[in-house]
């Protein structure tokens, strides 16, 4: 199953490497990744797409939340269809 994760990250040195490294170490492949600035220059927003079952998703989310520089991590699911579809955070 395809999942989209949203991670809010403090802009500390090495923070992105730690997130990417965690996925690699836990053998979860990142299919797509975007990093965007937020209104707060000290915080970036990461959006990741990955494949895996629900258990893998839950475990990786919990592991991500153990990273010190992670402010928040949640899974997004697609709501609606076509032009009007949008992503909403689901409590995981």
């Amino acid at each position: 199953m395809k999942h989209t994760l949203s991670i809010l990250l403090q802009n500390e040195s090495g923070a992105l490497v730690r997130v990417a490294g965690l996925f690699a170490a836990r053998h979860v492949n990142i299919d797509a990744l975007t990093v965007a600035a937020t209104h707060d220059p000290a915080v970036s927003q990461l959006t990741l797409v990955l494949h895996g079952d629900e258990g893998t998703l839950q475990q990786i989310l919990r592991q991500v939340r153990k990273l010190v520089d992670v402010l928040d991590a949640s899974s997004l699911s697609v709501v609606g269809s076509g032009m009007r579809s949008h992503l909403v955070a689901t409590p995981a």
């Binding site: 809010l8 403090q10 040195s13 090495g14 490497v17 730690r18 490294g21 919990r62 010190v68």
Partner: protein, 620 residues
């Protein structure tokens, strides 16, 4: 007495640090924060990129020596930084305090990688401070530059590269906070040399914000076990006829051993512990079943097979315990789990009930709830069953052999130490014999590399423990392969005049690997025979300054030699030539269930003995 109201009103005023506002170099700030947050022994090896800090420690100690001449931050220098790392870890494991290592850049830092990963895997509070090349040289392949943040980032709980000198002090304090809070772990602080040399203003209390980490930590710390959750757990317990507690290393970290003892004994629930949990519950008490798992006691493993209710406390169903998760405690109709780490809940085994929060509060609440509801369940049949298991499947070994059996040596020591010695180990068969045949009456007496299984851990971690507990009897139980890995630290023992006792169980082989080769590789002993090695360990110990260094070769001499070994006041080194063929039993082979446990030639088995297929196993 303060009422909750008063505490709420009195805003927590943090007293100003007496040195607040003073100008200090970065290096002096490092030392001042060490004095404030740690105030104990620092293990480390100097070098170019950390010289300013070593100089500042020297000056600090010279200025703050007490009347008896003791230094507040003694520097202990190992033979290798890996030794320093395991000493810091041993110090932390034996005391519960944060261990500190201080090393230079490049090779100094990379030599620490193994101890840092080891501390992470066993949840040991640790702060490692590494020198780094100057910020202007970062990324230039400079002399002794290593990408410490990248390397350690993958191994540690957290790593900081201090590129802004203004954040140095806050970073160091925060490193201690992260190392000791929540599920403890190692934090690495990488400090470029120019940052150490910058003149800064000392604050005395600054911390980094880390809002995400703190918010999650506070949420877990505040999580209270409610009455409803207690009621549902006790409802399941009331229906259970054969309840069992499975306690792990989290009980040690949380200082929850007394709360566990009260909980277990109030409701009569027997206790098995993991390798990391030895000491959670006094192994000499009637409800204790000692260790479960791959090399657990047969009666502990059978108890897991037979239980119908299991509560895991600070334990994580690791593959040495639940090699086949589906078949682990397969008859348990209810599995409960309490842990401080949300990621451990249901990670391996689905649980019916869980609580994420501090263990002491949770156990005290459960005990109080059960008492106030006069909870009672008649477990006498279960207790009788377990007493029978303990009797019928007691630990045993080849007592009639003319060769010295390692188990007999450990039993002889245990008769004298009575579960009160601090025992460190290497990794291999000797580690498992020590786990099986020693008693442990309290936590922090058992120092072993559980999750990483790092050979070479024993000697340096015992050294660290002896520094943490100068008056305690500390014994390193080591193997000939393991001790070689950090054998340079023998000299550290005598240099610092530590009264450490080193027991080397020499079987002339990499015994544990050989045991697997015997079972799974048709006895092809590839690269595990060490009998042609030339090392004379006793001579080596003498050369390193051990006045008491002996070899034990005759079975008849065990008692007298052990007595002398323990009685000598200074450091002692005893090499025991043991049966090279002695095996570790019981053994749950990788991929097998507890019911299929091999109990070996000297312990009876409940099922027909299953000979493992002599086929290469893909399990590890």
């Amino acid at each position: 007495m303060t009422t909750p109201m008063q505490t709420a009103l009195a805003a927590p005023t943090i007293p100003t640090h007496p040195l607040a506002g003073q100008a200090m170099s970065g290096a002096e700030i490092v030392v001042q924060v060490l004095a404030d947050e740690h105030g104990g022994v620092v293990f480390g090896y100097s070098g170019g990129a950390i010289l300013p800090v070593y100089d500042a420690v020297f000056r600090y100690n010279a200025e703050h020596r007490d009347a008896a001449g003791h230094e507040p931050l003694p520097l202990v220098v190992p033979a290798n930084e890996q030794g320093a790392g395991f000493m810091a870890a041993g110090y932390a494991r034996a005391s519960g305090k944060v261990g500190v290592a201080l090393v230079t850049s490049g090779p100094g830092a990379t030599n620490l990688v193994t101890p840092i990963r080891d501390a992470m895997a066993d949840s040991v509070p640790f702060v490692a401070i590494c020198g780094q090349v100057p910020t202007s040289a970062l990324g230039s392949d400079a002399f002794q530059e290593a990408p410490v943040a990248n390397i350690m980032g993958a191994c540690a709980k957290h790593v900081f590269l201090v590129s802004d000198p203004q954040k140095l002090e806050a970073t160091l304090r925060t490193a201690f906070e992260i190392a000791r809070s929540g599920r403890p772990g190692p934090v690495v602080v990488d400090i470029p040399k120019d940052v150490q040399n910058t003149t800064l203003k000392f604050d005395g209390n600054s911390h980094l914000p880390i809002p995400g980490y703190r918010a999650r930590l506070n949420a877990v710390a505040a999580a209270k076990l409610g009455d409803e959750a207690c009621a549902s757990l006790f409802t399941a317990l009331a229906q259970a006829k054969r309840p069992l507690i499975y306690a792990g290393g989290g009980v040690v970290s949380a200082a929850a051993a007394p709360a566990l003892t009260t909980f277990a004994e109030t409701f009569g629930i027997p206790v098995v512990t993991s390798l990391m949990g030895l000491g959670d519950y006094d192994t000499t008490r009637p409800l204790a079943l000692h260790m479960l798992g791959m090399h657990g006691t047969a009666y502990a493993n059978y108890a897991v097979e037979d239980c119908d209710f299991l509560i895991a406390l600070g334990a994580r169903f690791d593959d040495r315990v639940a090699g086949v998760p589906d078949q682990f405690a397969a008859h348990a109709r209810f599995i409960a789990q309490i842990d401080i780490d949300p990621a451990e809940i249901g990670k391996v085994k689905t649980v019916d009930w869980h609580h994420i929060g501090p263990l002491v509060a949770a156990l005290e609440k459960l005990t109080a709830w059960g008492r106030s509801h006069a909870f009672h369940s008649d477990l006498s049949a279960w207790h009788a069953h377990l007493a029978q298991l303990k009797h019928d499947y007691a630990m045993n070994y080849n007592r009639d052999s003319p060769l010295i059996q390692p188990e007999a040596v450990i039993e002889a020591i245990n008769r004298q130490t009575q579960g009160r010695a601090i025992v460190a180990t290497g990794v291999g068969q000797h580690q498992m014999w020590a786990a099986q045949y020693f008693d442990f009456r309290a936590p922090r007496h058992w120092l072993t590399s559980g999750s990483m299984g790092t050979m070479g851990f024993g000697l340096p971690s015992a050294i660290g423990a002896q520094f943490a507990r100068p008056d305690a009897l500390v014994i390193d139980v080591d193997g000939d392969g393991s001790i070689r890995m950090n054998v340079g630290e023998l000299e550290t023992v005598t240099t610092y005049e530590l009264p450490l006792k080193i027991l080397l169980l020499n079987n002339g082989v990499d015994g544990m690997v050989r045991q697997w080769q015997k079972l799974f590789f048709k006895g092809r002993f590839s690269a595990t025979d060490k009998s042609l090695r030339k090392k004379d360990f006793v001579a080596a110990a003498k050369a390193d300054g051990f006045e008491w260094a002996q070899r034990l070769e005759r079975k008849a001499d065990i008692e007298t030699t052990i007595a002398a070994f323990l009685a000598h006041r200074g450091p002692t080194f005893l090499e025991v030539m043991i049966d090279p063929d002695a095996g570790v039993y019981p053994m749950v082979s990788p991929g097998a269930s507890y019911a299929q446990m091999i109990t070996g030639p000297f312990i009876p088995s409940r099922s027909a003995p299953i000979t493992p297929e002599l086929a290469p196993t893909h399990m590890f």
